[in-house]
């Protein structure tokens, strides 16, 4: 618990709890999304992005009606 790694993770965790307060402030209705502690709470936002958000986006043409496959 005295390790540098622990300190860093704890810092990210505290940041996450601050984000949750902000995100939940819009959750007024019963079905609204809830934000809180999960398996990603001790990751920084950069770490999360670097590991889990790795899809490459290719712009697709606008949909212009259902068509049969080629």
């Amino acid at each position: 618990e005295d390790s540098e790694e622990f300190e860093r993770r704890y810092f990210y965790f505290q940041n996450a709890t601050k984000r949750h307060v902000s995100l939940n402030s819009f959750s007024s209705e019963l079905q609204s999304a809830q934000y809180g502690i999960n398996q990603f709470s001790d990751l920084s936002q950069e770490e999360f992005r670097d590991v889990y958000l790795r899809a490459v986006f290719h712009r697709a043409p606008p949909f212009s009606g259902l068509t049969a496959p080629k």
């Binding site: 079905q31 999304a33 809180g36 889990y52 790795r54 290719h58 043409p61 949909f63 009606g65 068509t67």
Partner: protein
């Protein structure tokens, strides 16, 4: 269009997977769609190899990321038949492509479409009904903190970075929403699923949507 559509009710959606610390969402979404479309066609639901796509789809970067469109184009061009998950299991790491004989494997992709449905989510509902589960690329930055419920705010549609599988929608309640399967395990979100409000291209859910033909 029916007020509610959930392909899980037809037993054609495989269980939620966990990609682990590997940027392989693009492969999970593509394989998820292929599995479901095959099952909708009358075959038994079989889990197919995500690892094969990670290792062999060379235009993509394995665990360092990839594009569902590129993966689908590669599958269409090579006519590669995906092996089953059990014979080519997931490793959460990029490996060396294992080759099988051309006749080996379960199913090949014949064709696919990719469209921008922003402003046309009703047409996307029809596409989901007609084609089966759809691959979508979304902005999932705020999903780091998601626990459950319907996402209506804090989700931009300009920086898409994560691939998922749209398996249904529900318009029967106050807030119509898309039912989306993620690949971060069942402890995340609603047993591995995320619900996204329909109608406003929330999280960019309609920006890049692919359907698969087998």
């Amino acid at each position: 269009l029916p007020a509610k559509l959930d392909w899980r009710d037809k037993a054609v959606v495989a269980p939620v997977q966990d990609q682990g610390a590997c940027g392989s969402c693009w492969a999970f979404s593509v394989v998820g769609a292929i599995q479901s479309v095959r099952a909708i066609g009358g075959s038994q639901l079989v889990q197919l190899s995500v690892q094969q796509l990670i290792d062999c789809s060379f235009q993509n970067a394995g665990c360092s990321g990839g594009s569902p469109s590129s993966a689908l184009r590669w599958l269409e061009q090579t006519r590669l038949k995906l092996a089953t998950q059990s014979e080519y299991p997931y490793q959460a790491a990029t490996g060396i492509c294992r080759f099988f004989s051309p006749s080996h494997g379960v199913v090949a992709v014949r064709n696919f479409t990719a469209h921008d449905f922003s402003g046309q989510e009703e047409a996307m509902m029809a596409e989901l009904l007609q084609r089966g589960p759809l691959v979508a690329v979304v902005d999932a930055v705020s999903w780091q903190d998601y626990l459950g419920g319907i996402i209506q705010h804090h989700c931009s549609s300009h920086y898409s970075n994560h691939a998922v599988l749209v398996v249904g929608y529900d318009t029967t309640g106050n807030i119509p929403y898309w039912i989306v399967q993620n690949s971060w395990g069942t402890t995340w979100g609603n047993q591995g699923y995320v619900y996204i409000k329909m109608g406003g291209n929330i999280c960019g859910i309609a920006d890049s949507v692919a359907a698969v033909f087998l």
